[in-house]
Symmetry: C2
Subunit: 343 residues, 2 copies
């Protein structure tokens, strides 16, 4: 067992120079009250001795860790990783570090991770909720103690705090209207978990577009799932196997849209987009790799991440955390590609 934990502290550096620990502490952070030559001397010695600051001790003393926690469902979704990149960019620019964990859409994991973030006293938190989550008590420690908490994308309106979202209703309305304008008559929907506000809004937008164009919504054309690729496949199998079949589908994400397309691809009586239209959501990279290329909705994921981080940081540093929580809504674009071009 070798020498473990023989970390060098400011005391060691102070001792080596016959000055006080206070002087070392101040010199290392360029405090104005320390002389130029002393600073130089201290920094040189600290480097020579291999001193590394202990953020744990500093955090305990200052009650500030210079970290923000990010909890997402899964990091391997293109939308999420862009969101995270946006968060990191802003946070790092402000000398904050970002720690990421994933809930894998499990409520239990979400609760545990949030607790770990609180126990480690991150200065702020950005969350995209798990599919499963229906209770929100685990955010109480953050709320009670006024730690900045921002929800992004997968939000809940049961907690009063800042939210970063896109206009899911309007996006779904646009997507569905586009299919109608292309001449599709009976449009189905691959829907997500309805306790997630965003998926409910996508369903609502879809329904509203149908009604606006005089089409009667049919519950039998809607397939609810976790929107995985497999579930897209399953949805296609079910919807296209019924007697009342859709001739187009609006999927609540690209992943399930691709699964849907793959099932349809192997049926001889379907050809996308000629007698079957597909629109997805997210503009994931696969949407332009799949053939035919997938029409989809683009969000400004990176911008949303940046905004979320900005919100957290201003709340941390400012004294603005008495202000009323705000919801920031970003716009989306419909990206028309081959999969919906009937005309």
């Amino acid at each position: 067992m070798k020498n473990r934990n023989k970390n060098i502290t400011i005391y060691d550096v102070a001792h080596a120079l016959s000055v006080s620990a206070t002087t070392v502490s101040r010199a290392l952070k360029d405090h104005h009250s320390i002389g130029k030559d002393t600073k130089k001397k201290v920094k040189k010695m600290a480097l020579a001795m291999g001193y590394e600051p202990n953020a744990i001790a500093s955090g305990l003393r200052k009650k500030k860790t210079h970290t923000i926690g990010v909890l997402v469902s899964q990091i391997n979704r293109p939308f999420i990783s862009s969101l995270i990149s946006g968060i990191e960019e802003v946070a790092n620019k402000n000398k904050y570090h970002v720690f990421i964990t994933q809930s894998h859409d499990s409520y239990e994991k979400e609760v545990e991770d949030i607790k770990a973030f609180y126990n480690n006293r991150v200065d702020g938190l950005i969350v995209s909720l798990a599919m499963e989550t229906k209770k929100y008590d685990h955010f109480l420690p953050f709320l009670k103690n006024n730690y900045p908490l921002v929800f992004a994308d997968r939000v809940t309106y049961e907690i009063e705090t800042d939210k970063i979202v896109v206009d899911n209703f309007e996006a779904a309305f646009k997507a569905t209207s586009h299919l109608i304008q292309q001449g599709y008559k009976r449009i189905g929907h691959l829907a997500g978990a309805q306790q997630r506000h965003m998926y409910k809004k996508r369903l609502d937008g879809y329904t509203a577009a149908l009604i606006k164009h005089g089409i009667q919504p049919e519950e039998s054309l809607i397939y609810y799932s976790n929107l995985s690729q497999q579930e897209g496949w399953n949805g296609a199998k079910l919807l296209l196997g019924q007697t009342v079949k859709p001739d187009a589908v609006f999927a609540a994400n690209d992943t399930s849209a691709v699964g849907f397309m793959q099932y349809a691809e192997q049926l001889t009586n379907y050809s996308i987009p000629h007698n079957l239209g597909v629109v997805g959501f997210n503009n994931d990279p696969i949407s332009s790799i799949v053939r035919p290329k997938l029409t989809t909705i683009n969000h400004p994921a990176m911008e949303m991440g940046k905004k979320a981080a900005e919100l957290v940081l201003t709340k941390i540093s400012g004294n603005s955390y008495t202000t009323i929580p705000q919801t920031i809504t970003f716009n989306t674009d419909l990206i028309i590609r081959e999969s919906s071009m009937k005309k």
Copy 2:
């Protein structure tokens, strides 16, 4: 400005019950020396008062944070996110928390993140190196103080520590041999940064397979890049635009292979796999979404992550960290799909 930082401590709980803080501390962690009824009483009061442990203070005192840091290039690569899932699974099972950051393949970011992990005294570290990294001094604090450090996938042999890798030479050899057996005569290679051992080994395996089959390697058939989709496209443009053209390519990852295929797709004189073969590496989900489906190499990413975490955890808890660093090599499989089926 509301009440911030009014966190409840074990002293508050102790005071409310007229016991000592020591008793509270012990009761909460089920120390054997505390009576059953006292434990019950303390836990109940802690819950009622909304006490939450402060991991910062505990970490300072115990010199142990129960966290492990993971540094990767980018979280949005399927291989990486599977690796992380494996790490998380093992870590969480052992009550450890995993904090993830990404270097975005920048040396500076890697240095900064490693420093932040050290400053926050993570108990162990798992790293997949940035493409750019050529110096390794930033790992010194971990090495000097015997903190467990494991490299995974993108490793360096300039540091003596544990490594988790796949046999890149053998995998590349298999992939290239397969193309030769399918009847392709002039095989190119999309290569990665050669300071990363893994990419060098893939190039070596490719070269060795050619030589073994009596084919003279040609430097003009090798395109070096960061292996992005765009660079795959650029590589195709260059290689297929030369007078000496390849009739097949082995790409060091799937992303660049897809870019390559997309460029070739729009050339009328090429048809994959009939007069142009393609093999990728990683078995990313896109490899079975792209058409024709991509032949590729599968790694056990999740298993590699699990093993990395196990290694770190045994080193943390055990006293085995005097033992000699080990390199664990995982096997790969060639997954034959349409893109290389000339026969």
